[in-house]
Symmetry: C2
Subunit: 84 residues, 2 copies
C-alpha cells in the first residue's frame, strides 16, 4: 500500500469511527434533543452519493469508508426519529 | 463538467451543508449536552486527513468539500467546548 492510499484509509477510518461515540452516547442516554435532524437527513443523503462517486472513480477508500459511515450515521438518524 | 465530477461535487455539497443546521441549532440553543465531544474531535481530525488525501490524488471535490466541512465541524466542536 502506498502512502497516499494509507492516508485515504486513515482519513476514512477516522471520519467513520467518529460517529461511533455519538451512536453509543445516544444509545445510552436515549436523548437527541441537541442533535439536528436536518443534519443527519442531509448528511446520510450526501454520504450515499459519496459511495456512488467512489464507485464511479473506482476509489476503494472513498467507497469503503462511506459505506460504514452511512451505517453509523443512519443509526443516529434512526435514534433521532425514535427518541425525538 | 462530467457526470462523475457533478456527483462528487453534489456529494461534497450535501455532506458539507449538513453541518450547517447543527451549527445554527447549537448557536440558538447554546446546548450541546446530547452532542458527542469524541465524535467531533475524531471527525475534525479525519476531515483534515481527507483534505490531505484529496490534495495527494489531485481531486478537487474531495479537497474543496472537506475544507468547508472542517470549518463547520470545528465550529460545532468549539460550541461543544464552550457550552459544555
Amino acid at each position: 500500500m502506498d502512502f497516499t492510499t494509507a492516508i485515504g484509509l486513515l482519513a476514512g477510518s477516522l471520519t467513520t469511527i467518529a460517529f461511533l461515540p455519538q451512536v453509543i452516547k445516544t444509545w445510552k442516554t436515549k436523548s437527541t434533543r441537541d442533535v439536528s435532524l436536518e443534519m443527519f437527513v442531509i448528511f446520510c443523503t450526501g454520504v450515499f452519493l459519496w459511495i456512488v462517486y467512489g464507485a464511479l472513480i473506482g476509489d476503494l477508500p472513498v467507497v469503503a469508508a462511506n459505506i460504514v459511515t452511512l451505517s453509523l450515521a443512519s443509526t443516529i438518524l434512526f435514534f433521532k426519529l425514535k427518541y425525538r
